[in-house]
């Protein structure tokens, strides 16, 4: 090993070039893999238990992004009356309403029902996971960023984008609890009772009771909720309904049934997120191709570096053999050198990928807030590291085989 290190440090610029190439390549591939896996896992967690999202007509992808992942503007609102029949539909096992359109210090405020908290397994870190009258709970990331504490009274602001809009100061909410991190979308939300959102917008619910709509066996509740993010409308409205199917048959019939209605649109999260990942995947594949090209270049650089260095080093190699080294030891010497250079490149690449992810998480808050773990290394990333080692060893093999065949007389002159 000392001889291998001596050979590497004896040609520092060549070694640095090779290490840099491999580091760039592996950093690109590892960062891509980490982001893709994180986004994919995050989508799966955020979609857990939700089969269908129903909202106002528009882009289905926008419906999913705005109502499930809370990263886009909603397509509009739907009146409580328009979805009343849908909530009673026997194909629907559970329908959780949400009302969006407000925020607090940059974090979205979502009016909903306790079922929404249960859907994501929310538990209180401090206080209670309760959204009673004029109560709100803060997700872990939202509380951490805003400093929200139990008992604090807040005035939410109107609007989702840009600066916080006018405050609904007349309808303050009391923080009843701060939630434990869940690794889901609710970590960066502030959740409150849906009526509280309506009240903030001057809308008075004339429905009897508001909670999520769930069919248990033959029991058929008909409670309704509504939301009104827009001050112009006076009737309660929802931004979206998050629906769980009652049976597999619903997957076929329900979206079609909803989409034939005039004002509603059904978006299937699994389908839309797959579409989104495919769009993302096209860019990812391009980058992966570029990274692979660089990997090939890195391997070639190792091969060419060792091959050309062999001309200068053949005297050393012959002497090594004269001292008693076998041909296989000579091959191992060069293969180990190639693997070590590639391994150092891989390690450096891992470090660079972490810096890149850290910068990405800082630049894209959604990614940062969504629990992107900088120092967690996934199996595919470990495979990339292993692949760089193997690539380095394979690239060095031809030089090793050539070195082993060098005549011993080279040591004499």
């Amino acid at each position: 090993m000392k001889l291998v290190l001596a050979h590497i440090t004896d040609r520092p610029m060549a070694a640095l070039l090779n290490i840099g190439l491999i580091a760039f390549t592996s950093a690109l591939l590892m960062a891509l893999t980490a982001v893709t896996m994180h986004v994919s896992n995050r989508f799966e967690r955020d979609m857990a238990g939700i089969d269908l999202v129903v909202s106002a007509k528009g882009s289905p992808l926008q419906i999913i992004l705005s109502s499930l992942f809370h990263v886009d503007a909603p397509t509009g609102n739907v009146s409580v009356d328009a979805v009343e029949g849908l909530m009673r539909d026997p194909l629907v096992k559970q329908a959780i309403p949400i009302a969006t359109g407000d925020r607090f210090r940059g974090f979205r405020v979502v009016g909903t029902t306790p079922a929404y908290l249960a859907l994501y397994g929310a538990e209180a870190a401090t206080g209670e996971a309760s959204i009673g009258e004029e109560e709100a709970v803060a997700g872990a990331a939202a509380a951490s960023a805003t400093g929200l504490q139990v008992g604090q009274r807040i005035a939410i602001s109107h609007g989702l984008g840009g600066e916080d809009g006018p405050e609904h100061a007349a309808h303050p909410l009391t923080i009843a609890g701060v939630l434990k991190p869940t690794g889901t979308v609710i970590d960066r939300l502030i959740l409150t009772n849906i009526e509280a959102v309506w009240e903030a917008h001057g809308i008075h619910d004339d429905h009897d009771e508001t909670h999520d709509h769930e069919h248990d066996d033959d029991e058929d509740h008909a409670e309704e909720m509504a939301s009104e993010p827009s001050d112009q409308a006076r009737e309660p409205e929802y931004t979206a309904l998050l629906i769980r199917y009652a049976s597999p048959l619903a997957a076929i019939r329900l979206p079609q049934k909803i989409n034939t209605q005039g004002t509603l649109m059904a978006a299937v999260p699994a389908f839309e997120s797959a579409r989104l990942l495919n769009l993302f995947g096209a860019g990812r594949e391009t980058l992966a191709i570029v990274a692979t090209a660089f990997a090939a270049l890195g391997a070639f650089a190792i091969f060419a570096g060792l091959w050309s260095a062999l001309n200068q080093r053949e005297h050393d190699i012959a002497l090594f053999r004269l001292l008693g080294a076998s041909k296989s030891q000579v091959i191992r010497l060069l293969v180990l050198e190639g693997a070590l250079v590639a391994g150092l490149g891989g390690l450096l690449g891992w470090a660079v990928s972490r810096v890149f992810l850290w910068r990405l998480a800082s630049t894209v808050p959604t990614l940062g807030d969504s629990g992107l773990r900088l120092f967690a290394t996934s199996s595919p990333e470990l495979l990339i590291m292993a692949a760089t080692l193997i690539l380095g060893a394979l690239a060095a093999l031809p030089a090793g085989l050539r070195a082993a065949r060098l005549p011993l007389e080279r040591a004499l002159g």
């Binding site: 001596a6 050979h7 004896d10 004269l322 080294a325 040591a411």
Partner: protein, 215 residues
Amino acid sequence: MLVLRNINFRRGATPILTNFNLELGAGETCALLGPSGVGKSTLLALTCGILSPDSGSIHVEGEDLTALSPSARNAQRASTMGIVFQNLSLMSALSVTDNLALAGRMAGAEDTNDSQAQQLLSALGIEDVAGRKPRHLSRGQAQRAAIARALMGQPKLILADEPTASLDAAWRDKAIACILSHRDTHKSTVLITTHDPAVAQHFDRVIELQAAQAA
């Protein structure tokens, strides 16, 4: 210890050695004297197995090198021989100390490496350049480092090709004294080539080679 019997060797059509014979016992020293091109270096290269004779046999500690496989010959060389080449032959990527350590390790004498290396470097007056790589040594320092390297691992047979060619008279005598001291301590057999009669006079036997020698 070393027996060369009826060695014949040609380069192309030119005979270099013809029916050459030599027998050296344990602890015996021998200097091959002669002008350049007479085959002194070739004889050493044959003795350590780098070259193979056209005919004849070379026995080292009873083993016929010409009958051994290349790997067995390598192992035999590593375990029994310390060699000084005319071109010095230090590993360019390693420091003087590391060159010595590698030679000791390859000879299977790791436990004595540090102390022995220090002693050799001191005896040859190059302890202050122990950390330098060969390219940062003068020719004389490199020659002494090559001698030190050859003595690592207590070889039974020391082969040295013009080991004092780059040394002044003072260091020449010290280098020869170091080799002979090693012989005294370890009962090593020593075979060197030289064109310098002042060097040859220190050895038990002196063989003067002539073109196409038949000794």
